[in-house]
Symmetry: D4
Subunit: 226 residues, 8 copies
Amino acid sequence: MPDGLESFANLDLGRAARRGYPEAVYCEGKTPEQVAAIASALRARPDAVTLFTRAAPAHAKAILNELPDAHHDTDAGLLAWPPVPPEPAGGLVVVLAAGTSDLPVAREATQTARYLGRAAELVVDVGVAGLHRVLGHLDLLRRARVVVVAAGMDGALASVVAGLVAAPVVAVPTSVGYGAAFGGLAPLLAMLNACAPGVAVVNIDNGYGAGHLAAQIAAPRPAGDT
Amino acid sequence: MPDGLESFANLDLGRAARRGYPEAVYCEGKTPEQVAAIASALRARPDAVTLFTRAAPAHAKAILNELPDAHHDTDAGLLAWPPVPPEPAGGLVVVLAAGTSDLPVAREATQTARYLGRAAELVVDVGVAGLHRVLGHLDLLRRARVVVVAAGMDGALASVVAGLVAAPVVAVPTSVGYGAAFGGLAPLLAMLNACAPGVAVVNIDNGYGAGHLAAQIAAPRPAGDT
Amino acid sequence: MPDGLESFANLDLGRAARRGYPEAVYCEGKTPEQVAAIASALRARPDAVTLFTRAAPAHAKAILNELPDAHHDTDAGLLAWPPVPPEPAGGLVVVLAAGTSDLPVAREATQTARYLGRAAELVVDVGVAGLHRVLGHLDLLRRARVVVVAAGMDGALASVVAGLVAAPVVAVPTSVGYGAAFGGLAPLLAMLNACAPGVAVVNIDNGYGAGHLAAQIAAPRPAGDT
Amino acid sequence: MPDGLESFANLDLGRAARRGYPEAVYCEGKTPEQVAAIASALRARPDAVTLFTRAAPAHAKAILNELPDAHHDTDAGLLAWPPVPPEPAGGLVVVLAAGTSDLPVAREATQTARYLGRAAELVVDVGVAGLHRVLGHLDLLRRARVVVVAAGMDGALASVVAGLVAAPVVAVPTSVGYGAAFGGLAPLLAMLNACAPGVAVVNIDNGYGAGHLAAQIAAPRPAGDT
Amino acid sequence: MPDGLESFANLDLGRAARRGYPEAVYCEGKTPEQVAAIASALRARPDAVTLFTRAAPAHAKAILNELPDAHHDTDAGLLAWPPVPPEPAGGLVVVLAAGTSDLPVAREATQTARYLGRAAELVVDVGVAGLHRVLGHLDLLRRARVVVVAAGMDGALASVVAGLVAAPVVAVPTSVGYGAAFGGLAPLLAMLNACAPGVAVVNIDNGYGAGHLAAQIAAPRPAGDT
Amino acid sequence: MPDGLESFANLDLGRAARRGYPEAVYCEGKTPEQVAAIASALRARPDAVTLFTRAAPAHAKAILNELPDAHHDTDAGLLAWPPVPPEPAGGLVVVLAAGTSDLPVAREATQTARYLGRAAELVVDVGVAGLHRVLGHLDLLRRARVVVVAAGMDGALASVVAGLVAAPVVAVPTSVGYGAAFGGLAPLLAMLNACAPGVAVVNIDNGYGAGHLAAQIAAPRPAGDT
Amino acid sequence: MPDGLESFANLDLGRAARRGYPEAVYCEGKTPEQVAAIASALRARPDAVTLFTRAAPAHAKAILNELPDAHHDTDAGLLAWPPVPPEPAGGLVVVLAAGTSDLPVAREATQTARYLGRAAELVVDVGVAGLHRVLGHLDLLRRARVVVVAAGMDGALASVVAGLVAAPVVAVPTSVGYGAAFGGLAPLLAMLNACAPGVAVVNIDNGYGAGHLAAQIAAPRPAGDT
Amino acid sequence: MPDGLESFANLDLGRAARRGYPEAVYCEGKTPEQVAAIASALRARPDAVTLFTRAAPAHAKAILNELPDAHHDTDAGLLAWPPVPPEPAGGLVVVLAAGTSDLPVAREATQTARYLGRAAELVVDVGVAGLHRVLGHLDLLRRARVVVVAAGMDGALASVVAGLVAAPVVAVPTSVGYGAAFGGLAPLLAMLNACAPGVAVVNIDNGYGAGHLAAQIAAPRPAGDT
């Protein structure tokens, strides 16, 4: 079998040009050596941001060895290179974490939106068990062009927020909770069945996907567009 | 095999004495003839209320033939005999139906609580997509000794209500909704994972069970008890 | 228990003002009489569009009795009143139906987007078993501000389209298929796991939700916004 | 992003006033540093009991560093501060553990009920494989205002107890068992389908939730109430 | 393709000789014409009992047309030919139906055991919600060489009985119940996880299989065997 | 929206040229009018065989109205036009039906293979409860280039056959069985876990897919190929 | 809370007298200290065999510290005390392991049957991928009063054996296999749907339960019994 | 119990003669000692290739101790002995890995096909998010007699490839992905529901099974066969 990068990966370097957003490198299931080889190949391409997602410490170490100035968000398991996000354009992304345990996923979403070029704000611990916590952020929520909700357990925050704002809500269920949460199945189903329309669901714990989708929804309009 | 009532049923007539609540007759899976025979046997026992649950029209007709003055709530598929509920005692039961489609289950719960001796009030169409609808009933909710919430889809109403009141919440998921509601699985899981504590879950569409549990929770205290 | 509309429904007539989009009436689980009463109450409110979703023939008949000029899309089980959609504003919504059997859901999405004020185009029978069918519509797809994909079976069309366009994709799994499609579970999971980011998933067969979400994503920007 | 407590948590210190029961701190998914910061902030609030649930040894160490006199139940993974439960009021809570392996969950329920102000007694190893073990406690069971049943495997104890007492039964399925117990799914479903009415189900292994619900059900009545 | 019986069936007429028990004809999924052809072919083989299981009315009519004196148990959907069961041998089979709705399955088990040569007694409505109903039959239960328990909902009766007798218990979960009974899944899992050993589980609603297994367990021993 | 065929379908008439096998028309979820329009359009294309699968009686009637000489296999719900299969080429396909109830699926597979150009033989009622029935066909099985096994319940026939022959086995689970067969899930999982390698699984009840795959596997080799 | 053995366990020492078989100690979920205390209490009761099941090395060490001469089968995770099984009585138990990986479960079943007083023989690696391996043991199989089959993956061995012998088959699915075996779900469902009647299913990996059930089925008959 | 190889395994050495393909040794669930004993026994049988699958490092070490020149593919967890594959015969097998994380499974398939006597080529990182990557290999794909597709997440690659080639596609879902991928369930269901016919599905992560099936499909034809 062939050796080197082409023996295990085939980078889609044209994706930023084709779709407007660069390809990310999903580290889970790759060896640190494979990730390092990809990082090395990308060093010559500083024109587009590359995100490394689901990076375990061994992945992070291998990436930082190749790209020492990459930004590393350890909570989110995310690395970004070049390290400085682009100047924000388009609408505001607001990310809500229902509880502290949802924070890693919420941070992954926030950072992804920023590195894809949006302004993004993160608000934590606004679960529906204390409605005043959500309602206290209504002004911010109504300024958002899209709201991301990261919530485990009953996932009820997505429905409540969708009932309060005109913007679409990107709901990312988390694997927070135990027993009959079944690793995020409970909030996933609740969000798919949100009684308020306007809820877009992504995969469990997929903060990257939520941030990417939010960045697309809040993208700047071409000149002359309504 | 033996004939007659004893060939298919063995009434637990002592249950009211033993547990304080009479046995109900679950009609589903019984033939109208079997239900009629049970109704006929109960005619001689007007001392305790008997509820017939999940009665299809054929069951109802068979029961009314034996007990013509029984009360029949067609929406809830429920018959009660004797037809007049006992004088209410104990605390107030408030039943909420998240949407109009949850009404049959909510009515079954309300009627069950009444026939087991509680005062019960029913409020409809208070889903969380319009929070003001729930919040508009806060005074009533805070007078309740127990709140029953019947909700399908995301089941989020149970969490929201439990976060607002000190009384326990009996949550009954309904099979309202489609697709990934999976016949009530979505609200069932959401309610089991309610982010606010104090939520007691019963089976999907089990309005009878919810009303029974609520009646027990709101039961009058023995004299001298705190 | 109370009689009349307030005994089973509590219309959220302020939703259009609050959220920018009116409440829809979900007919499943309501009796034709209940739906008729709602239709009758709405007759005095022609200022906002009302959609009646999941309307069986008996529901439709009851609605048309009250609102004879309502528009009725029998394939989609949808009625709209007033019958003429508003003048389109905002970006273009493109709806794809993977196969002919996905058409009812795709039509529900298309009509919903139109009645909520967007221009919407529908393209049918573009499943990935013949890639040329998708690729032949690339120009249209790239003009869309959001693409809705209705697909059953393997749900693969969502991933393929998301890999081709910069706009977000709203994926609505359908219950088309048999056996291990498990009523839409197979495409639902596939769409949640789309290997291309940018896929927003809604409930199985939920064309209404897909159209609503698409309308929100493609909403016109306030003046001065980028 | 902001630093300090407000960067990851937003304590609901008003919950005791609003609902009558204080907020608990769910440790799972939080870092020991986050838990320590919460413990430190609570030090100034000895007026309400705080429970830390699902505390792993690292969490416990971090909490005890901030609140050295907190009570630590290692079996239940629970810490309480201030360490002495309030004087009991209201009705008696009886907690049953079907087997020895259910004991951690049963202890979590018992301690929660005590710290929320109830008298609570714990009885162990009363599974239905030896009915005499349950029947031997009938007197105690009939003195309870609410019975908590912690059981894994077939969850049958909940049904048997509910058939014997007038008080409501709070059933908490445990993940005890293997194979087709599916992590507690088997007793969860059995309890939801209890053939005796009066069973309130909470999440798998959720001893805290069971104890909280029991404390609410057995709460003292306001003066003048029946 | 070939015509006649051999085009759709290949009777295993040697099974009684090979295994000691004849093959049964499972009617579900066969056309009445196919079942009639099989019945006609069996007419020449009165030496072994043939059972037709899951016979809908159309199947029964077709069978009775060919074998007019066959015994037809309409509740159980079972036909037997020749109509008279063999003289009983071996140990006693006791069949318990937890509720009236479990009766069709329990009858199928009882009749199957009888036609395979065992004495069998059926006891109805002995659910664990009223333990005295089970305990009242202890003498009979302890005379059984095998006990069959047909129960839906929580399936708890199997565990309770297995804890009371030395004989093995054949547990047949039924699809009785609603919501989270999930068509018999709840009692199936409960029975597989029975906390008392000695429970042999068969398929949901499989009264035939339960009766067959019971007949094998209670089979007479060869001379000289212990 | 557009009218006519192009408003709901986009026939992939080039598929036979591109892939060597023509597109089939899946009738489920299409209206009889839609199917009729497709049949009408195909009338001008007798060069390739068209199969109509999952045709309910109303579909069949609509098709036969347009293509009166189409072949109609009512058991299999299949129509073929032109009605005569091509001259067989390539290897032999042997189709096994475990039981009579599996016959519709097995016939669909057999007919599909024939209309796609293979010789195909069908053997019925060879379930593993009587191993001699399988073993009696070993000669035929060993002449096959591919064996299709249609089986419900335990799906064990696929494993047994795969252990006996060198040819690949195409396993099609059927929804035959009840209770814990869960609509074909049981044989599906069993076949995916076949202890003998060489088992290719297709969707539940998908006789068409099984026959198509078998036709591809047994396809004639190009001249000069080994 | 109380200390000592009674704080966590309530031994059912009368079970051997009541049911004829002693209670076993299920170690999973118990601490080594708890298991040691139970072992210590049993030392004074050598009249009945005690089995400790699912004993991890730490459990085994704790038990052997109290009961140094206990028999320890490390493969099966089983300890027995007193160490010598009783003299065998009743019929022969034959245990089959489909593959080598099923051996721990098969050994647990074999040893359990022996310590409960039966003669038991174990045969390994007789999966249906090589039918000759099963068929080569037909003589032994036909001498058994009950056959235990331990099999993972497709679980097909249970059906094949049940089709060959008159004795009942106790089928114990194992968690052997990967992917869609789903931890033993695949063989569990296959065994519940065995196409040959006479299969009694126990929980996944439950070798103890299989051996116990087999011992009951093969129990010696009382004098004078047939 | 017996000692030595026959106490835990019964090698099917005749399988190569009987089926044309040798038995493989599945290491998972076996101890290194058991695997070593099998390796030792095979040393005397160099006439057929033996594959050891799912070999953890401890297994590999034990095997290499007995068969030092065995080939060890560490990525695939596979060992082969004798180490040199046979001369290839039959058609070409092309293996596609959708992403880098699918590579271990794809390598297992590739190596298995080679050791069973086929020419096999492996292409990596051709997911449908960049269709050009698949389309760039069309020439190679159309030369294959069978294509193996290893893909996790949405499994969409199988459908896309099946729509492009006439050869059958063997689809092996992988457990790559997170959350609602549910350990490979999502691609498994997607592949079973592939909208293009001609997809043969094997178990999740079962690269060995996929390679074996591909080798059978691409087997050389007997002389004189078409």
